[in-house]
């Protein structure tokens, strides 16, 4: 029963991800897509947590943390790219 619930939850997360993919494809603006991708990352974190429980292993928990970190870095990079066209500046403008 619990397994079924978890599988349903997983499927729902996948549906959420699919919806975000649609947003990425549709856009219309770059920030829209950046948000969607970021959220896909966040949803993947949840999915991994559920998979961990389904498989009864803690082997995937590192992935959760890493994904959190990396999605964040990615989002920063995207927003800087959208905002300035440059992700890493040579000199601080302050």
């Amino acid at each position: 029963m619990i397994e079924t619930m978890l599988l349903i939850a997983l499927a729902l997360f996948m549906i959420a991800i699919a919806l975000h993919v649609i947003r990425i494809i549709k856009g219309p603006t770059m920030p829209d897509r950046a948000i969607a991708l970021d959220t896909i990352g966040v949803n993947l974190i949840s999915s991994m947590a559920i998979v961990s429980i389904l498989f009864e292993t803690t082997a995937f928990l590192e992935a959760i943390l890493i994904l959190g970190i990396l999605a964040f870095i990615g989002t920063i990079a995207f927003s800087k790219f959208i905002e300035r066209g440059v992700i890493i500046e040579r000199k601080s403008d302050h």
């Binding site: 919806l19 649609i22 920030p31 950046a34 966040v42 949840s46 590192e62 959190g68 964040f72 920063i76």
Partner: protein, 124 residues
């Protein structure tokens, strides 16, 4: 059904709830009119969804294996801190890159400060 099973049940429910929240926020991503409002959808709902899911699994694992997963805790903390920052950065970028507010938006006190009253498009 003993206590731990009940807790596991509850955890599963919470996770399912998180999934539902995430789907709803994804629907919000599709429904809301502009990037700013969409960012509201994910900055809150999606974060809530993932947090409930993580907390659910944290407790589940704790109950089932007696294993306190620092990594999940850190993950929760991480999402908690980073997701608003991410929203902030993206919509700032959106605004500065000239993405207009949705039709029917109200006042805008930032426009004059950033673009001096001119249209972002003109500025480019």
């Amino acid at each position: 059904m003993n206590a731990s099973q009940i807790i596991e049940w509850i955890c599963a429910m919470i996770m399912l709830l998180g999934a539902i929240i995430s789907v709803i926020s994804a629907v919000g991503m599709l429904r809301f009119p502009d990037v700013y409002t969409r960012s509201h959808a994910v900055a809150k709902s999606a974060t809530l969804g993932v947090l409930s899911c993580l907390i659910g699994s944290f407790v589940y694992i704790w109950v089932q294996d007696g294993y306190i997963s620092i990594r999940i805790l850190l993950g929760i903390l991480f999402v908690f801190i980073t997701s608003p920052v991410a929203s902030h950065l993206v919509i700032r970028a959106a605004y500065r890159s000239g993405v207009p507010l949705a039709e029917g938006s109200g006042e805008d006190e930032l426009k004059s400060v950033l673009f001096g009253g001119k249209d972002a498009e003109q500025l480019k």
